[in-house]
Amino acid sequence: MTVSFRTASGGRIDRDRTIRFTFDGTAYRGHPGDTLASALLANGVRLMGRSFKYHRPRGVLAAGAEEPNALVSVDRGGGRWTPNLRATQVELHEGLVATSQNRWPSLSHDVGELNDVVPPGVFSAGFYYKTFMQPASAWANLYEPFIRRAAGLGQAPSQADPDHYTHRYAFCDVLVVGAGAAGLAAALAAAQAGARVILCDEQAECGGGLLGERDAVIDGVPASDWAASTLATLSGDKRVTLLPRTQCFGAYAQNFFGLVQRLTDHLPHPDPRMPRERLWKVRARQVVLATGAIERPLVFPENDRPGVMLAGAARAYVNRYGAKPGDRAVVFTACDSGYAAAHDLTAAGIVVSAIVDLRPGPDGPVAATARGAGLDVRSNAVVTGVEGRLGVRAAMVATIAGNGLVGPSERISCDLVLMAGGWTPAVHLHSQMRGKLRFDAEREMYVPAAPVEGSRSAGACNGTFGIAEALAEGFSAGADAARAAGREWSERDWSPVVSGEIVPDGGFHGAVPHDRDVQKVKAFVDFQNDVTEKDIRLAVREGFRSIEHVKRYTTNGMATDQGKTSNMNGLAIAAGSLGKPIPEVGLTTFRAPYTPVTFGAFAGHSRGDLFDPIRRTPTHDWARAQGAVFEDVGMWKRAWYIPRGGETMHAAVLRECRTVRETGGLFDASTLGKIEVVGPDAAEFLNRLYTNPWTKLETGRCRYGLMLNEAGFVMDDGVVGRLAPDRFHVTTTTGGAPRVLAHMEDYLQTEFPELRVWLTSTTEQWAVIAVQGPNARAVLQPLVADIDMAREAMPHMSVREGTICGVPARLFRVSFTGELGFEVNVPAEYGQAVWEAIWAESQKHGFCAYGTEAMHVLRAEKGYIIVGQETDGTVTPSDLGLDWAIGKAKPDFVGKRSLARPDMLKPDRKQLVGLLTVDPAVVLEEGAQITAEASPVKGTAALGHVTSAYESAALGRSIAMALVAGGRSRLGETLYVPMPNAAIAVTVVEPVFLDREGSRLDA
């Protein structure tokens, strides 16, 4: 294709090099320095997207981050698919593959466009809320899928993102956001003062609006040359960090800023080791906001046709990119900046057929100069419509008569209509910092009222529009910021001489008058969301008063562009309908991010194996070699079951349980939390933190400890062994270890600081090997040198220190299976060696290694609870039948007072019981609800729920535990567990299924 819409010369593109790219499968050519939008325009491509709701054909509106229409998906191959990118920000590179969105089958023939010709009002404001009401079930099956297909943005990627992303913390004296005139001057001043400066800009090339100036001269140098030389100065300063392609998207408390830097999207063949994006977390002593301003569209019928664009954008395309957005233009303006566009387009060889100025008398020097240049300037005039569906063919232009009525329209042939509605300061970051805004009534714009502490706004975002004024204000702001950051510098003023610019003056808000049938035309306010002038008026008529509500009802200002071009016009129309001045209607809240940020940038390296730390026990490799299947418990990998010879999980768990009860098994219990509680007041401390009494526990003995929170609910449990009068070995649940230590520290530091106690986490210091089963003693005895393990010498619930396999050990006689059991604690680095020695010995007795699933079944057969499974933060010791664990003689412990609250004593509290299904083969589902009747009336409250349910090898049937209202008074009752097919009948029993007298423990 011939490149027919390039200017003859000029611009910041490299005309000597050609880049090939495709858009919707068609090959095009562009140059380095192009964006996708400028390259498409230079190729004569106007149609770049379809609108969200009506599927109207759309072209590019803007030239920067505010673009609402030209959203594209970019495919970088290998699953690298990014939807909803603004073509105005996509840098062209060799081989770029971009596609348009929200159209089928193609951009120029889109079936969805039928939405645009349905009768007026059908798709108006609140359409979704009004139409898709009933039945509720249709939402999931019908409405939502339909809406998602019909109205939408790009497709989400279908594969995992193969790129990686990185994070970086940074600190500086002065952060300057935006590298236009004000930002460059601020950075220059701050750097000259010796400050450490970070200067970031969203674009590939720093310079902002200066890059799009044709005639402006700063201190005798063309504006873009001044920008280049200033950048050269800054980049030569080691204290200055220049970050192009970096969007400051969020401002957070204490001058903390989120920046995202694009590192590889612009490269044709990026090094795969390079991160795609870097998230900068910047802490700045001071910040200068120099974020510029966004041009407002004018709201008139058919103002969304491809070829209608912002005047400033058109200037940028011809001056900076050497791309002509059309051949023949009509400039519709309410601001002097429209004239700058007219001059620049004329210079680029585009015929400007008319300047249609909305203002009554633009008879100042700007209009005079334009007339002098031979341009047709019409004052008090409006564009009342645009012809052309896939591209502008003509503009209808009329004059507003003295009585305010719009006169007959004249048709002016053109393929380009520019809109210059004035400029809206980009106050987003100032507002995110909770800065107040002030409505400048004369200029009709919101500007920062007063700077937030540690920050200042400069240039167009502060309502300061001329280049000279922006440079001076930026320089002064940079000097101030450096001084506030502690740099001593006396120079603070710079008064540059600027010529050749037209300073933007004037503007318009709201909808412009026209003579068309308002029911039949669409004058767009929010291009991305297809919100028209009449949608906003309708919302006000229907009773919406708050601008926040109008926004949500009409969707004005929502989606990826967040209303950058639409908020002020929408606000003005709402204010007009309400008959109130703009500041009384308010402004919607600005929230981060300023532009969309990828999930990848936020996630950084925290994905896959690095999402969370992985904790492995000392026997992990051994278990893996045995074929263990692991489960995640907190951050731990625990052996779940260890299948043999192709066993199913079901078979493996039954075998493991049977083997433990018949002879014995080994279990890795290293994940149990362990806390060493040491000090002269250690026993008293435990007295206050656990329900149980500890003072009289002898050295060498253990006790089951139950821990409550202050509200009286069970929060943890575990065995505690006393090693010396002032030393306890406390164990906690696997998941509860950090919480228990924090709870203990809290009370020790803040409620009982007088106690002389020290707490140390020893979870990772000890490997714990549980040796359980009738032959447990026989297996361990040969390996233990200096501990008398005889039945009487070392009874159940005792602890000894000695050596096992020559390794110092703490040997507990404890059981979580109901069998004779020991838990061997050895230093973690000896864990696997000791495990292997015990394993070898145990094989003489036919032991197995068992996993967490068998452990759960074995403990359930004995009715031992698991905190977090039988409890849920609303369960008391009494609910669990654990009254015996409460030291009744103790005056106080954490939670004791709460146990006496009336609600804690009600007889209908949910209590732990056992459930036996009438059909012994049926295993209940954990979490299933329990009712008194098989078919309860809809709305009946459940009596409780199943907490644990297993098939028991020892009992040859299923067993379950449950929390049931008034459960202990229901023993023998038949209850029901309603399931989708039928209710399951169960009998309520005591929650101990095996060896109730405990003879096996005492073996």
């Binding site: 408390a253 509200a711 520290e745 809290d746 803040t750 106080d892 004791k896 007072r897 709460s898 609250r901």
Partner: protein, 101 residues
């Protein structure tokens, strides 16, 4: 991310090192058994939840491990002061006046 001054370490450290601990100066009775039910429920469950300056507990979990108290504005997240556990509650109005200067 907030920077929080640990009154024990005497340095400003990132929020990630700390764990929030709820409202401060909610003291546990010396003899809870003598506290009436309603007052005990108040102690357990009722907090001030102000819009403005809030006196609250923090723990320098991934640092010195100590609990301390802080005065933070719940709208701006601005910290007016941090001080050690056991020290008296500061005069909020005086702090706010000083901060406004």
């Amino acid at each position: 991310m907030l920077l929080i001054r640990c009154p024990y370490c005497q340095t400003d450290r990132p929020e990630l090192e700390f764990r929030y601990g709820g409202e401060a100066h909610v003291s546990r009775a010396q003899d809870p058994s003598s506290v009436p039910d309603a007052a005990w429920a108040e102690f357990l469950y009722m907090r001030t939840n102000p819009k403005g300056f809030h006196v609250e507990r923090w723990r320098h979990t991934h640092g010195c491990g100590r609990f301390f108290n802080a005065v933070r504005h719940t709208v701006t997240d601005r910290f007016l002061a941090t001080y050690r556990a056991g020290e008296p509650k500061p005069d909020l109005e005086a702090l706010a006046r000083e901060a406004a200067r």
